[in-house]
């Protein structure tokens, strides 16, 4: 049985959005009979993260949380994985990190230390959302423009495609959303999403073995 480990901290507005949108990926994984290790809220801590990886050895890791060039955090900013400390936890695995800047150094370093592939962002992942949708992030059509291309990356991997194919599918969806917003039929207020969406698209990268798949 294939397995996926997902971290879903939820302690501020940004992680609240990622928490709910990552749930859609979990549902897709369950439909495909994946074993899902869901480290949600307080469970997104270093002890559970490293313990579950060592015990189950998941094929795919989907990290949601804040990040920096050298680290990715879980609940309340606890560092889960960082350069020169424990990036070997990602060895022999495919990782997608929906977190700021972690592809810059951590991604490179994890690949050097044996990760099959690391897909993430070299700069801040920025998204626009609606003020009144914080209790219903899934119904936020503005956030959807950003988080659907992100989710598509993981669901493409779950379906057995390669890292490169998943990356390209996500890029295509970012591009599709950009073009849709740039048409004259698109309302002006929606067009203000374009620069941020473009930023995310150009800073998303696929490192390591492009042919790696589950």
């Amino acid at each position: 049985m294939n397995s996926i480990l997902v971290t879903r901290p939820r302690y501020d507005e940004t992680t609240n959005y990622l928490y709910y949108w990552a749930k859609k990926v979990i549902e897709e994984a369950e439909k495909r009979n994946f074993q899902v290790l869901d480290l949600d809220e307080q469970k997104a801590n270093l002890k559970d993260f490293s313990g579950r990886i060592k015990k189950v050895n998941p094929d795919l890791i989907f990290l949601n949380g804040h990040g920096s060039p050298t680290a990715i955090t879980g609940h309340n900013d606890e560092i889960l994985v960082s350069v020169d400390k424990n990036e070997s936890l990602l060895s022999d695995k495919i990782t997608y990190a929906l977190s700021c800047s972690s592809a810059k150094k951590l991604g490179q370093s994890s690949v050097k230390k044996g990760a099959k592939s690391f897909i993430g962002y070299k700069e801040d992942f920025i998204f626009m959302h609606e003020k009144d949708k914080s209790t219903k992030p899934i119904e936020d059509e503005t956030a959807r423009l950003f988080l659907e291309p992100s989710n598509l990356l993981v669901t493409t991997l779950i379906k057995g495609n390669t890292s490169k194919e998943a990356f390209e599918r996500s890029q295509k969806e970012f591009n599709h959303n950009l073009r849709k917003l740039m048409t004259s039929e698109s309302p002006q207020e929606d067009r203000s999403s374009i620069p941020w969406l473009y930023w995310d698209m150009i800073h998303q990268v696929c490192l390591g073995n492009a042919t790696a798949k589950i």
Partner: protein, 75 residues
């Protein structure tokens, strides 16, 4: 020369502020661990020229440059 550069920076900041004003007031921008910002807060950061303000300018200018070079349409 420095005076000219300062004036260019001010023009860029003003351009970015005008662009930010087109964001509807019912939206917020999440910039990772830095937090979530309203339009007014984004504009204040650009005026202040702090790290977030500079990031916002970078995002907007990257997009405008992509239009100029055609990079966006070629993606």
């Amino acid at each position: 020369m420095p005076i000219q550069k300062d004036s260019q920076d001010e023009e860029i900041k003003q351009l970015v502020i005008e662009r930010l004003k087109t964001i509807p007031p019912d939206k917020k921008i999440s910039i990772g661990g830095e937090g979530d910002f309203t339009v007014e807060e984004l504009i204040a950061r650009v005026k202040k020229n702090d790290e977030i303000g500079q990031k916002i300018v970078e995002v907007q200018m990257k997009f405008l440059q992509s239009l100029k070079t055609g990079a966006l349409l070629n993606e």
